[in-house]
Point group: C2
């Protein structure tokens, strides 16, 4: 073949954290497929043997060095083909002192081998050796991409100059544009190499914070000598503390900054072959054109299902039953449907309707119909007896009649549901599925050790409004009504029609206190973007500039165009969010959908933050309107 | 005064995170005291206005810039005195993208003002402006000390050249030696300045990972021109997620690397005055010589009490009652005593003995005597009725007689204790105190939503063996037997005598499965030092080199000199630790005593880690002994 022709295979593999033997087997199968396709180079993701999210195990030399020892076994696979892959570097005998779990990336490096031989990188490092950056140091880019330093290698390959880098940039939510970060670094090498290979291990979120280039900037690129970029990302599920992360793959080839061909972005493995002719300056793709998502919630649905399926397989390999409380409300109905989509069989799902006197026939019927539609076991009964027993024990301990009236009794009911689900799980040898949504978790509208129990929270990062969309998509996917329609509002010009509104059903005629749609938007804005400016929002309200805002309609609907009501509600949301940190600290792990955790759960503190001077001024001005 | 004489006040203040107004008032009072003492320079800690552990609030420009705005108000206090203090820098309008919570330190900077005027630093920065290091860049040192980049300022001060730095090093546990990290950086400036001022916001742990210089190295320093180092640290309590951190202060002046005078290290505010005569090259201290701890457990006791008192005051300013389950066992007894030491009054402590048929008269009597000795309310009763009701609900849901026998019933009892404590707390308008110790938490010998409930865990980072020491110290401090002596083992030459051994009392004649002393050591080694080598431990066992080990005696006592028993037990500990990550993820926040969290909780993942090849070989070799 012409030395100027390069047939590259993008190996979008599933990486399982902590399992190098399993990952090596996956690598081997992809190498075989790449050779069969006539590729002379196959590219694997970053940290594709040990995984990225290993927590404190990153500081354990025995394990990290064990993973590094797999390099040689990959090298033996490179007979007749070039293999580029990411792996961690060994920990020196002196040990390391990692400043933070993010520091895993300090140990992330690239490997290149051909015909069983290692190709050494050309270092042209101009930075301090102690700064943990092998090769060129791009500290600020490392920081931007959360990788804490990006080693960039320079290799001579098939007569072509190629830079090989790790995680040099984030993609936009659409995956269609290269981010400024990625562009800035890549353009450092414009004219100076023929190809850039970028190895990634980037978890998916629906709305990453990374900005994207606008069309004008992209058109500008046409004139630059920006080389093609081959970015290979993994798929799978990895977790750290409370963050359960899904990896969508979406490995992509960028020409002049534009995505020209991509692997699947639906959380599945894929192999894409690209033939670069550097003489003719052309690229040809084999079987290009994967289906792309038409709407973000379609992808959210697949992302949750993918993470749930893999979490179950990796964390509970003994295939336990999953027990779930089915109240007949929207949250538990959607969660049950997600389980049915995720697990190989619905035999492992057991639903329990844990009724008290306050549960309506309507929701009980919903639970029954949902279980029928999904074909899952539903066990009915009442927990009134144990609620009564709780009151008796309370009297036994000397408290007067009525001591548990009101909110105390509401929490008793919720907590006893958690207790009974835990008991049923123990009897079934199973685990509990959490049902809580993001609005409840943020406002603390949940009972600790009650409805906040479970091994994992599939919709804990999903607002109620997004649940409406998921519910419709789920019904469409099942081709029938699985999620009862009475749970879904019908939006009108100035509000909604809603047959069965959200209720905890812990007392008579109870309705959730949330201002749906408005609070969903406010919480998503404040929680998912810590840089969100509450003060700018107040300023806009003060200057009557919210007319074009997505929530203008709901501000009217809930009467928040009255300044007193607006301030009272805003402070309720801020106060509830701050005062419920102690609950979230003890809630189950959550599948990350929107939050850009960068490998962390959302980091909160039990701190009373002073109101800023500007906030106090704006508050006064609004109340004086 | 001679321009060569400098009277420095070390202002060891309490910093409350998120409360700049409160912290400014503290700063003002220290400035007054420093002026009264005739100081011409007063030095405050790092980030002394907003605090260090602000979680995601670090990304919120409105709050961070509000804290930065306090600079001017501090400057107005500098009439007739120089003030050096740490504060965060404002977030630029463009916003920031912090790679991790550790990145708070990227925004940490120093300030210097005299007579209401700002003294600007002389930058001699030779690093990339985008690397987040203002002033000199010491990336590797920044990483070592966990500060992610140490801006080092160079200021002309009273005719004396002084470098002002942030957190240039960790101290040893004893606080008596300067660490290599600190020495390395400081020595960069040897000969090149007269004084080094180091601002710190370093949480205390009993055994930091930082190494210290040996005597020989220190003697070597005598000959160097290492300038005096003035290090000022804060006191107080700050928290992030599950880590509740205590700050011990221990602000120190180092001459030739040796601590020459220190502020109190008992978690209290302090002001130390030092007069430097740079002509005579002498230092004089006013009221030097604070009492130092004779033993580490004395300090652990004060550290826990300090963190508990301040957590209660900051997080629960409304002074709620604290409810605690008093089983009469060691863990709850020590925890109750810690509360009595921490809170201003024992009126806020309510103990509950939540007995079932399995609770012995001995432990009930212990609970009674403890409550008497501490003067706290103890409410007695039985939870048998609600245990029975649970079984009735189980039958109601169609499960056969005996479905809850065995472990299921044990967990039901533990969970109902959590439920009743939550109910009592709700009735009392109070919060729950967690009782779990570190060995239980690590091995997962706790029931989620049962004994693992609570707003805070005071002894969750304390092994059982350390609890014995704390119990004796507590009895000494109260001057009477508060912790019943039957709970404390009497160590003998080859084992121990122990009247009432630890038991969960969830079934007849139950004893905890832990191998006390041996497991305490193993867990402390593995958990607190992720770099601990299990393989080296196995190698030592294989080569019979554990004779000198602190656990040699216990290996014999528990019959682990039998290779099969040794391997079986070791794998049980490793397996239990790994399989209980899901519990720890949902456990209460814990006061950090030993774990060097560097601002994080211990970071764990639900990952099945492959056994390394070396581990498998060693295992086989031991079994073949």
């Amino acid at each position: 073949m012409s030395t100027a022709e390069l047939k590259v295979a993008l190996a979008q593999m599933e990486v399982i954290a902590g399992q190098p033997e399993t990952n090596l087997a996956t690598i081997e199968s992809f190498v075989v497929r790449a050779k069969d396709a006539g590729a002379n180079l196959v590219v694997f993701p970053e940290l594709c043997l040990g995984g990225r999210y290993l927590g404190n195990r990153w500081q354990n030399a025995e394990f990290v060095n064990y993973v590094a020892s797999f390099d040689e076994r990959v090298c033996t696979l490179s007979d007749g083909i070039g293999i580029i892959f990411g792996n961690n570097v060994p920990i020196p005998a002196s040990g390391i002192d990692l400043p933070s779990p993010e520091a895993d990336a300090y140990l992330s490096d690239v490997r290149f081998c051909v015909d069983g031989e290692w190709i050494d990188p050309e270092h042209d490092c101009d930075c301090d050796d102690d700064c943990d950056c092998d090769g060129d140091c791009h500290c600020e880019d490392g920081c931007d991409c959360g990788c804490g330093g990006s080693p960039v290698y320079h290799l001579a390959l098939e007569g072509i100059d190629a830079h090989i880098a790790i995680c040099i940039g984030d993609l936009s939510g659409s995956g269609e544009l290269v981010s400024p970060t990625m562009f800035d670094i890549a353009s450092d090498f414009a004219g100076d190499c023929d190809l850039i290979v970028d190895l990634a291990a980037s978890p998916w979120v629906a709305h990453p914070l990374a900005q994207t280039l606008d069309e004008e900037q992209l058109d500008g690129l046409e004139d630059t000598a920006l080389p093609p970029i081959v970015r290979v990302n993994c798929i799978g599920m990895q977790n750290t503390d409370k963050a359960v992360l899904a990896f969508d793959g979406n490995s992509t080839i960028y020409l002049n900054g534009r995505a020209s061909a991509s692997c699947r972005d639906d959380f599945q493995e894929d192999l894409l072959i690209a033939s670069f002719d550097f003489d003719e300056d052309t690229v040809a793709f084999m079987d290009e054109g994967r289906p792309r998502y038409g709407n973000v919630d379609e992808k959210v649905l697949d992302g949750i299902v993918s993470a749930l399926r893999r979490f179950d397989a990796q964390v509970f390999p003994f295939h336990p039953n999953w027990v779930i409380g089915l109240s007949g409300g929207l949250d538990s109905s959607v969660t049950a449907a997600l389980m049915a989509l995720a697990f190989e069989s619905t035999d492992r799902i057991v639903g329990y309707n844990l009724a008290t006197r306050y549960n309506s026939d309507a929701t009980k019927m919903n639970a029954y119909e949902l279980a029928q539609a999904l074909g899952i076991r539903l066990v009915n009964g009442s927990i009134e007896g144990i609620v009564k027993a709780t009151n008796e024990v309370v009297s036994l301990y000397g408290y007067p009649e009525g001591a548990t009236d009101g909110l105390v009794l509401e929490n008793i009911q919720a907590r006893l549901r958690g207790h009974m689900l835990s008991t049923f799980a123990a009897i079934e040898g199973g685990v509990i599925m959490n049902n809580g949504n993001k609005v409840e978790a943020t406002l603390g509208y949940a009972t600790l050790y009650g409805d906040a129990v479970g091994a994992i929270s599939p919709i804990g990062d999903v607002t109620k409004v997004r649940l409406f969309n998921l519910a419709h998509l789920i019904n469409a996917r099942f081709g029938k009504t699985v999620i009862p329609l009475n749970l879904l509002p019908e939006e009108t010009a100035d509000g909604y029609n809603w047959e069965t509104m959200p209720s905890a059903e812990l007392k008579d005629a109870q309705k959730d206190p949330m201002k749906w749609f408005y609070h969903d938007w406010l919480i998503e804005s404040m929680v998912d973007n810590p840089q969100f400016s509450v003060e700018a929002f107040m300023q806009a309200y003060l200057e009557d500039k919210l007319a074009s805002s997505p929530v203008a309609k709901w501000i009217r609907f809930y009467g928040l165009d009255d300044p007193n009501a607006f301030v009272e509600d805003l402070e309720w949301v801020i106060r509830q969010t701050a005062n419920s940190v102690f609950k979230r600290i003890q809630m189950p792990p959550t599948i990350m959908v929107v939050r850009d955790t960068r490998g962390f759960e959302y980091r909160e503190n039990q701190v009373k933050f002073e109101q800023t001077a500007c906030y106090r001024e704006l508050r006064a001005a609004i109340l004086a309107m």
